[in-house]
Symmetry: C2
Subunit: 273 residues, 2 copies
């Protein structure tokens, strides 16, 4: 049973890509067969890993052209880590996709098709991570329709709390209309400044919010703030400029240790499922 996870937050610059890339790197380093799907037209996850789209097309060609298969656009990025790369400069992509029938299901159809007819000798993926763009549009909806779990990367700052309820509403709506299996597993705190009271207060606010949802029928009823929070460290901002994950670049730096620990947690949780 693969663990399928969307890294989602409509706010920009909160750590979705850094988290998608480094958790994918972390679990693949632990031997788990992993797929990372870059759904963002900024293609930052693709850039971060130093990969290019395949000859036959990017993830967007897969979404727009139903004759293409997942294997046609898949690129091997690292040991145990495959990527569906995005590409930049695609004006009109969301409009074109919105005009398509089944427009929010294109990605889940491709994933199902792949799982149902695996190439000879290929095993199914253990983990699928989807890096979403900073919006609640048709690309993010494709991501949300294709997974069971939503992880919310965010920073421990007052203004970051403002967008969370809208995000939760979107998950609820998708669960009610498109994907009944969807739920929020947790929040990943990114670029955490451990030295400030403000950060800790924001995390405490989030803990309390999830606490009061326990036992409800909300899709976040069992959600929590993951520990550890990922600490801010310039190495995490430098790594993409070298096309490297933090596991390759500086696994021992504070944020690197945090992502490794989170990856271990994800794998241990998965082993229990």
């Amino acid at each position: 049973m693969p663990r399928t996870i969307a890294l989602m937050n409509q706010k920009g610059g909160v750590g979705k890509t850094t988290t998608a890339v480094n958790l994918a790197a972390g679990v693949s380093a632990l031997g788990k067969r992993t797929l990372l799907i870059d759904l963002d037209p900024q293609a930052h996850a693709t850039l971060h890993l130093g990969v290019e789209p395949a000859e036959r097309g990017s993830v967007y060609d897969l979404l727009l052209d139903t004759s293409l298969k997942l294997g046609d656009v898949r690129v091997n990025a690292r040991e145990n880590l495959d990527v569906l790369p995005a590409e930049t400069d695609l004006a009109g992509l969301e409009n074109e996709l919105s005009a398509a029938s089944d427009r929010t299901r294109r990605l889940s159809n491709a994933l199902d098709q792949h799982a149902a007819a695996l190439p000879a000798g290929e095993k199914p993926y253990d983990f699928v991570f989807i890096d979403c763009p900073p919006s609640l549009g048709v690309l993010t909806l494709n991501g949300l329709s294709s997974v069971r779990e939503v992880f919310i990367p965010m920073q421990a700052q007052f203004l970051a709390l403002q967008g969370v309820s809208k995000l939760m509403e979107t998950v609820k709506l998708v669960r009610a209309t498109i994907n009944p299996r969807l739920f929020v597993t947790g929040v990943i705190i990114c670029a955490f400044d451990a030295s400030t009271t403000h950060s800790k207060e924001v995390v405490a606010d989030l803990d309390a919010f999830f606490e009061q949802s326990r036992g409800s029928s909300e899709p976040w009823a069992n959600a929590r703030v993951y520990r550890p929070a990922v600490r801010r460290n310039v190495k995490l901002a430098e790594a993409p400029s070298f096309g490297k994950t933090i596991i390759e670049y500086a696994p021992w730096c504070p944020g690197g240790l945090d992502y490794k620990q989170l990856a271990q947690t994800l794998v241990s949780e998965w082993d229990l499922l």
Copy 2:
């Protein structure tokens, strides 16, 4: 001659609102009559200053209803500082606005109308700051059509460089089609980590980029990276949770001193214009 400035960057979470609010606070504290326009449906600038929209409507009512005047939606936030507040939860706002005639000129029309027929005893504004949403849509285009100057808040990180050329292209396009007076004055570095080589390298990259544009006919031909860079400090993230500007909350903290110094620079430059 008022100095009219749009804080623009389609990337999210880079410091547009923090910069708009604190530069507006800084120049108004120096005695300049200032207007801050919140164009973002997240309404963070409005929230940051602790103000509410007026009885007769928010900035969006001004954009959608041509019978309203600027004075109808304006709220006084501080001494010398007026605001056109935004409001949240406005589904369909951009669609409705896009359907309007003159859809990118609604704000500039309102500003021109106000300047042409000032209420008795009222002086024109010395500074107008516009806080743009993280997108290149019709709201940002209203902002860009209403000002002479574009300031680009951004963080000194590798991935932040990726969006700059697209931003520049948009300014060029607006200058060619809607607003021939538009130019890029400069970049404001936000949440700067003075201790890392990476940050300094990114700033050096930006300096070089502007250097090689000198003497060209590009709208950024005279642009530069403003000094000082605004240093990262938790006080800047805390201030909005108290509805305060950094000038009120912690003017002496590193980022506060930087915004005060930048405000002084903006005023000195203006005095020379």
